[in-house]
């Protein structure tokens, strides 16, 4: 087995290379080749999964080392992969969901002039994502981390002829870069403190190494900054809504199911490093993002932007869970979220496809349930799952987190999480009702999408519907499976009784759905007029509380002014000035001294004579 697990990342890499060089010649087979490599990787991952669960529970991990990459004194970095229950879960999500989205893309991207290149990038993304989750040390993980950032950039800007797309790509890259840089500083600090970056070295000694808690907190928070950038949490979330300029399968794969969850993976993987203070930071930022995303989503007219804010909100829930110490719950939500959110993104892609390709404005949709019954039906399942109503998967993944929050005794956090749950149900129902219910408001002729797109969505719908089974059984199948990596889920403590908590969650979610139905679904409220009456509120939500505008108008000019000062003031003035000044000084001195050079040899001879005489005189005096 250890040798074959190398094939999991290498197959998509091979696919990427083939498609990069021969994509044009392969024509439409490029897509099938790309899908096949990811599908095979999924099959091998499944094989690895069965090999893994046959191992005894302690020591349940597969490792394989290729070679020593960096050796410097006592510091080693190896190209080594580690498959433990945590990375196994991520592997199955990345390859499984990735495979379905690749298949879907065959239909969605049909006829695109850069068809082959699209699949080359997608395969490359899968490769880097697999490197990220399979790495056995932070250095290799960072390689994957930056690699997925690159692929995200390439794919957001895939239709780079559109100015908005190329700008969004740059924005995504630069904003995540801020987090990445902080994370790199954290890694450097880690080398300094622990002398190693291998998971096995750092995470096992984290508690007993004698590194002070303050230092640990700094390292953990710096790592979390990387996660904030990658997972679009406050305050580095601004790139995610704009990233929706990319093709929709990209949004589904990278900006819903896999890359943005890398931050959650990082936090869960490194949880041994997180001190109570750092955990609080994670929980607070997660909860704030959950609430913020849910509210901002209500104000969006663009179906993909609404879903993007929803992703941010759901990721916030995952960080919230991780911050409370419920790591396995965070990963469980990650898995089912990958199902239902990529399902809904693919659904929105199907809608766009049905409306001719690029229509994302929900104001000119409506009633598509009848015109696109399959897409509509599956979107209902996705929305149902996200709203947190049983029996769909979202309920079984999100409700335990909220209950757990209640048990930890942070009442305010619990109330805010409930509030976010209300708005989650509200925004997702709003999207559903505006798009699929009521009467069609547009002037196009919607048609159902081809089977190649519907079948992957069907599989994801099954996952979204029954994914909850993963968290059922005695103490949660997936939680139990993750225990070797995340530690057992310790009891949260005494809170409200479980049935009451479940009842509250269901009532809140139902209230959200009902409110959305009343406003956008029933037809009894003129929501356009309602919006006009509350225009300031709507504008605030639509602009995501003006965070982006604040950055553009306050932060960016300040930074630009600072950079200009450094560039023209310090660099051109001081640094260049010193160098040029030295040059000028030499030139002027030379100009003065050149008059001594008469060109008459006898003058020189006289100077030599005088010099020798003076020297002799001095020597004589000195003696």
């Amino acid at each position: 087995m250890p040798a074959t697990i190398w094939l999991i990342p290498l197959l998509p890499l091979a696919g990427a290379l083939v498609n990069l060089f021969f994509g044009k010649r392969l024509g439409r087979y490029a897509g099938w080749l790309a899908s096949a490599t990811v599908g095979l990787a999924f099959a091998i991952s499944l094989g690895a999964f069965f090999a893994l669960i046959r191992l005894p529970e302690e020591g349940r991990e597969l490792t394989a080392t290729a070679y020593e990459w960096i050796t410097s004194g006592s510091f080693h970095v190896a190209i080594e992969i580690l498959i433990d229950p945590l990375s196994m879960t991520m592997l199955l999500v990345v390859t499984g969901v990735g495979f379905l989205i690749h298949v879907y893309s065959n239909g969605y991207m049909k006829g695109d002039p850069r068809f082959g290149r699209f699949f080359a990038y997608m395969n490359l993304f899968v490769f880097f994502m697999l490197v990220l989750v399979m790495a056995d040390n932070y250095v290799l993980m960072y390689v994957g981390w930056e690699g997925v950032g690159l692929c995200s950039y390439l794919l957001i800007g895939f239709w780079f002829e559109k100015k908005a797309a190329s700008h969004a790509a740059k924005k995504a890259f630069i904003v995540t870069r801020i987090g990445d840089t902080l994370m790199l500083i954290g890694l450097a600090l880690m080398v300094f403190q622990f002398g190693s970056l291998a998971f096995g070295d750092v995470l096992t000694v984290a508690g007993v190494s004698g590194v002070s808690e303050g230092t640990m907190t700094v390292i953990a928070v710096l790592l979390f900054c990387g996660a904030i950038g990658k997972s679009a949490q406050l305050p580095l979330h601004v790139w995610l809504p704009d990233a929706m300029e990319g093709p929709t399968p990209v949004s589904a794969l990278i900006h819903a199911a896999t890359m943005v969850t890398a931050g959650v993976y990082l936090v869960v993987r490194s949880h041994a490093l997180f001190s109570p203070t750092a955990m609080t930071v994670v929980a607070v930022i997660g909860l704030a993002s959950a609430l913020y995303g849910a509210l901002a989503s209500v104000g969006q007219d663009d179906i993909k932007r609404a879903l993007a804010y929803s992703t941010m909100s759901q990721l916030g829930y995952m960080f919230f869970a991780a911050g409370l110490g419920a790591y396995s719950l965070a990963i469980a939500l990650l898995v089912v979220h990958a199902f239902y959110k990529s399902l809904m993104f693919l659904g929105s892609g199907s809608v766009m496809h049905g409306l001719g390709g690029h229509e994302t404005d929900m104001r000119v949709m409506g009633g598509l349930r009848k015109l696109m019954p399959a897409t509509g039906g599956m979107f209902v399942i996705g929305a149902w799952a996200l709203s947190g109503l049983p029996p769909m998967s979202g309920f079984f993944a999100k409700d335990p987190i909220i209950s757990y929050a209640n048990g930890t005794g942070h009442v305010l956090m619990w109330i805010l999480a409930i509030a976010a749950a209300f708005f989650s149900a509200l925004y997702i129902s709003r999207i559903l009702f505006l798009t699929f219910f009521g009467a069609y408001r547009g002037d196009k002729h919607p048609h159902e999408s081809p089977k190649v797109m519907l079948i992957p969505m069907g599989v994801l719908a099954v996952g979204a519907a029954f994914g909850g089974l993963l968290t059922l059984s005695i103490n949660g199948a997936i939680e139990h499976f993750l225990e070797p990596a995340t530690g057992a889920l310790h009891e949260a403590g005494e809170g409200l009784p479980e049935p009451l908590l479940i009842a509250i969650s269901i009532v809140v979610a139902l209230a959200g759905v009902a409110t959305a139905w009343l406003i956008w679904g029933s037809g009894r409220v003129d929501w356009v007029a309602l919006r006009e009456r509350n225009l300031p509120t709507h504008e605030m939500l639509a602009h995501g509380f003006y965070v982006d505008d604040a950055y553009a108008n306050l932060l960016v000019p300040t930074l630009l002014a600072g950079s200009r000062f450094l560039s023209s003031g310090i660099d051109s003035g001081l640094v260049d000035g010193a160098v040029n000044g030295l040059g000028r000084l030499t030139e002027r001195t030379g100009g003065l001294m050149r008059h001594l050079q008469t060109g008459i040899v006898r003058t020189y001879a006289l100077a030599i004579l005088v010099g020798v005489a003076a020297l002799l005189l001095i020597l004589e005096v000195m003696r």
Partner: protein
């Protein structure tokens, strides 16, 4: 009865000074050249005087070397002077000031 070394050295110093002044004040390249020869031979004289005084042949050997080198130098120097003269129609060294700063 030997002549004391002081006389030789004084003569050598006088010759050397004449040579130096010649180099510094004359403009004709040939005369400068002769002055240089004068300086060289002044030094040769002092070398030989010391050699005799110390009873050591090395000084005399060095004087021979110096004469050989001087002869060689005269060949090259005269050749240069002739070349300059052909080109500029003058042996006045002050007019050859192309290296002026």
């Amino acid at each position: 009865m030997t002549t004391p070394i002081g006389y030789y050295l004084v003569l050598s110093g006088i010759l050397f000074s004449i040579g130096t002044v010649g180099v510094l004040v004359r403009r004709n390249a040939l005369v400068i050249f002769m002055s240089i020869e004068l300086q060289l031979n002044a030094v040769n004289l002092s070398l030989i005087a010391f050699s005799r005084q110390l009873g050591d042949l090395q000084g005399q050997v060095l004087a021979f070397f110096s004469m050989v080198v001087a002869a060689a130098e005269v060949v090259v120097g005269l050749a240069i002077i002739v070349a300059i003269f052909r080109r500029r129609r003058t042996a006045n060294v002050d007019e050859s000031n192309l290296l002026k700063g």
